[in-house]
């Protein structure tokens, strides 16, 4: 079945080289004057759309109680076992009686698949729009309960990036 056929013989026009090359040169020259697509990152932040799967947070009720009831549905749903929860009796009188004493997420293991937020019956764990949380040490990338609650404080108004952008502008 080996069909090796030579069906192409370059015409004289092709052999001239330059016409085809000139077309390419025109493309690049046109782009020279066009608008650029770069986002000037640290000053100008990309604002992800709703539902972006970034850094996790633990949601709170308006009176400050943690929504999480330590049911461990999220850690069961997690394909990489990066969520570790130690449940304990809740310190608040009203509401559910369990709450997480410890709630650790290993961000280095996490694959940001979003299964935890789908699995959560209380809408307690959620992925936020924060994407730039890289760090220099492994220890800093183990986030605990208080860290997750802090992320909630940062992102509860859904304007993490637009907000920081504004404050930076006022500084300069």
């Amino acid at each position: 079945m080996a069909i090796i056929t030579k069906s192409y013989e370059p015409t004289f026009w092709d052999k001239l080289y330059f016409p085809a090359l000139f077309k390419g040169l025109m493309v690049t020259l046109r782009y020279f004057f066009k608008r650029k697509v770069t986002i000037q990152y640290p000053e100008e932040k990309y604002i992800p759309p709703d539902g972006y799967r970034g850094l996790h947070r633990l949601n709170k009720y308006s009176d400050g109680r943690i929504r999480c009831v330590a049911c461990e549905m999220c850690s069961a749903a997690c394909p990489v076992d990066c969520i570790h929860i130690i449940p304990g009796p809740s310190p608040w009188d009203e509401g559910k009686e369990r709450y997480p004493v410890r709630f650790d997420i290993d961000l280095l293991r996490c694959i940001f698949c979003g299964f935890c937020e789908m699995a959560c019956p209380e809408e307690a764990i959620e992925l936020t729009e924060i994407y730039d949380f890289s760090d220099l040490t492994r220890e800093n990338l183990l986030i605990d309960r208080d860290g997750l609650l802090e992320v909630y404080e940062l992102t509860k108004n859904k304007n993490y990036y637009s907000q920081t952008k504004k404050s930076e502008k006022s500084e300069t």
Binding site: G24, L25, Y31, F32, K36, T38
Partner: protein, 344 residues
């Protein structure tokens, strides 16, 4: 030679050297900026206004880097190779006239460091020496990728020098002199006296050969990042790498200046007699030279960021089977024309 003459020459050497180095810096900046613009990006814009100090930051970075000599490298040659490449690249500019004569302190000063009467031969000789730097760097690194880069470079040299030399021969036939000054003087006057209009074929051959000579895309086979990692400079680091880098740009500048001199009337500004305008004419001629050179430097960048790379046997095929016969044909035509003209 009297003292004043000596000082004048010294000043000219310094000015040309400084100008070349400055242009190298500007070119490093422009290469990144222009390429970025062509690709819809912004390019370096952080260091200094519009990123203008970027080449200086690069330079500092290169100097701070650790200078690595690989084990098993031929140390003296390894260290010498970048210098062999860089020094001829900087020296070539010496014979290129970059403006009309200027009268200062009661004497006429040609704007040219050295008016060598075999100027073209000098240029061709020096550019060939530069290639030895690449070959030696590739060989002495004791790395397979570098060796392949060096080999490709030598193959490239023999296939292109010839066509380039023959393209120049037709210019020499026209002007009847090897002196670059004479060649420029020959193209004075109206616009169509430029050699590019008299010798379009020679110009195309020369231009293509010059791209091969300066190791720029589409002929940058000896460094071919995607194939040979970095080719001849794979193993180089720190200031030695920077020297290769500078040599590449210095070569480009020389090549652009040479193209302008040979084919675009040098410093000639069409339809203007510079010598009759005094100092103004000189300024005009220098500006015209810089503008023309700038266009060719832009063309270098433009071409680099548009085309893919040739394979090395294709390059040799192009050199031997296309350009060499064409150049010979061109010489034949030119010589025939000149003979007929002399007879009539």
């Amino acid at each position: 030679m009297d003292l004043l003459g000596f000082i004048i020459i010294l000043v000219k050497v310094l000015v040309v050297f400084a100008a070349t180095m400055l242009t190298v810096l500007v070119m490093i900046y422009l290469e990144r900026r222009v390429s970025a613009f062509m690709q819809g990006r912004l390019g370096p814009n952080r260091v200094g206004p519009q990123g203008l100090l970027q080449p200086i930051a690069d330079g500092i970075k290169f100097m701070m880097k650790e200078d690595i000599v690989p084990a098993g490298a031929d140390k003296p040659i390894f260290i010498l190779a970048p210098a062999i490449l860089l020094i001829p690249a900087l020296m070539t500019f010496a014979v290129i006239p970059f403006g009309s004569d200027i009268t200062l302190f009661g004497r006429q000063i040609p704007l040219q460091v050295a008016d060598v009467n075999v100027g073209i031969l000098y240029v061709l000789a020096l550019t060939s020496i530069g290639v030895y730097g690449i070959v030696l760097a590739g060989w002495s690194s004791n790395s397979k990728y570098s060796l392949l880069g060096g080999l490709r470079s030598s193959a490239q040299l023999i296939s292109y020098e010839l066509a380039m030399g023959l393209a120049v021969v037709s210019i020499i036939l026209l002007s009847g002199s090897l002196k670059l000054n004479d060649i420029v003087a020959d193209q004075q006057g109206y616009l169509f006296s430029w050699n590019v209009f008299k010798q379009p074929l020679a110009f195309i051959i020369f231009l293509v050969a010059v791209y091969a000579e300066t190791n720029r895309l589409p002929f940058d086979l000896s460094e071919a990042e995607q194939e040979l990692v970095g080719g001849y400079h794979t193993e180089y680091s720190s200031i030695k790498f920077a020297m290769f880098f500078m040599a590449e740009y210095a070569n480009m500048i020389t090549a652009a200046a040479l193209t302008v001199t040979l084919f675009f009337g040098g410093w000639d500004f069409p339809l203007v007699d510079e010598s009759s305008l005094g100092i103004l004419g000189t300024v005009l001629s220098v500006c015209s030279f810089i503008l023309k050179m700038g266009f060719f430097l832009f063309l270098f960048i433009w071409v680099r960021w548009t085309f893919p790379r040739f394979r090395y046997d294709q390059l040799m095929k192009l050199g031997w089977k296309v350009m060499l016969p064409l150049a010979l044909f061109n010489i034949f035509i030119t010589a025939g024309y000149l003979t007929v003209r002399a007879l009539v």
